[in-house]
């Protein structure tokens, strides 16, 4: 047999041995890995969805407006002026009366708004509580061509029902315009302390010097 042929056979044999050894090594390693390693899996599904309480089904825990002082319902109250050359105040209260002053260059007009809860401080979803707004002309000038209307946009947390509207043509000094609104909760979270905001805009549309002012009411409720 030629020497070169012998060499080729030797090389082939060594290669086969190496490949066989590697093959066995890989198999051994694979078996060992599979045996001594475990993968734990976590699979979850999170559904975010405004939860509407079914009619007649109340949660075990009531939802009530955030506690203010005493028996007052908590809410923040903000006002803003759409037009006018002066901004006199931005007020916040805890459901007590608030006085906002609107100044013009020619004369001073004052409005006093009182908000009162008429049927308690707490309500479960589907229950109704009422708020009473009183808008008083505390200035010494009769407001003419005035009206008080309200508009509101619901974000789904509450059903807002206006049970009374005000449409006064004039509001003399000291006269009070009344606006009643009722609210019922339609949604409730499960976490205690969760705060729900509802922004209700009502317009005090007294035309004084052709200036219009709009007031925004933000009601805050907390799950207890």
């Amino acid at each position: 047999m030629p020497k070169s042929l012998q060499t080729k056979k030797s090389v082939k044999k060594i290669t086969q041995v190496i490949l066989l050894g590697y093959f066995l090594f890989v198999i051994t390693l694979g078996i060992a890995y599979a045996y001594f390693s475990t993968t734990l899996k976590i699979n979850g599904l999170v559904t975010i969805e405004g939860e509407e309480w079914p009619e007649g089904v109340l949660p075990t825990e009531p939802v009530k407006p955030e506690s203010g002082t005493g028996s007052q319902i908590s809410s923040s109250f903000q006002s803003e002026y759409l037009t006018g050359n002066n901004i006199s105040s931005t007020a916040q209260n805890k459901f007590s009366s608030v006085t906002e002053t609107y100044d013009t260059a020619s004369s001073t007009y004052t409005i006093n708004i009182t908000k009162t809860a008429t049927n308690g401080n707490s309500a479960k979803p589907t229950e109704i509580f009422n708020l009473n707004f009183q808008i008083k002309n505390t200035s010494n000038v009769t407001w003419t061509s005035g009206e008080v209307t309200n508009t509101y946009t619901s974000n789904g947390n509450f059903l807002v029902n206006v049970v009374g509207t005000v449409d006064n043509s004039t509001l003399a000094p000291g006269e009070v315009a009344t606006l009643n609104m009722s609210f019922s909760l339609t949604i409730c979270g499960k976490n205690k302390g969760t705060l729900y905001n509802e922004e209700i805009t009502y317009k005090i549309n007294y035309l004084v010097n052709n200036e219009v002012r709009t007031t925004t009411v933000i009601l805050e409720f907390v799950s207890v």
Binding site: Y35, F36, S37, T38, T39, L40, K41, I42, N43, G44, L45, V46, T47, I48, E49, G50, E51, G156, N157, I187, C188, G189, K190, N191, T194, L195, Y196
Partner: protein
Amino acid sequence: MKKIKEEKIFSLIWLLIIIMIIGVSYAYFSSTLYIYGIATLDGTFDIKFSEASIVNQTELETINISDNGLELSFNIKLALPGESDTIEYTIKNNGTIDAVLDELVVTSATDTDVTFNCSSIAGDLPSGETKSGTISVTWNADSVSPQKDVNFNAEIVANQKVS
């Protein structure tokens, strides 16, 4: 000629005798001791979820561990932006081999409306011991999505501890 033949026969006989003597001596003075044994590898590597729960669980929410203990599934429902809930789970080393847990790896895509925060779980898990972790789920307060399903997938790899 005959003499030579006889010498050869004698030599062969002597050679046989010598070989027999050597064989008898070897048989007499030699002994083989055999030891039979079976080496059994009975170490077990058994890492499983042992407990799982949802904090503030409602009737609409579920959580369960698969029969083989290797998979944890949950279903969380959040009602309002800003709400959150927490999943608590425990992993137990039921085997005889000490293990090391890798960090939890989230394998699902991220979502802009829901945030998952996972506590650290990595570390040693000796035989017979447990290790607990949490996953908090929050519907982001600034989310404007009215309704959505968000999947969460994660893996925790447990390896044999190598000293």
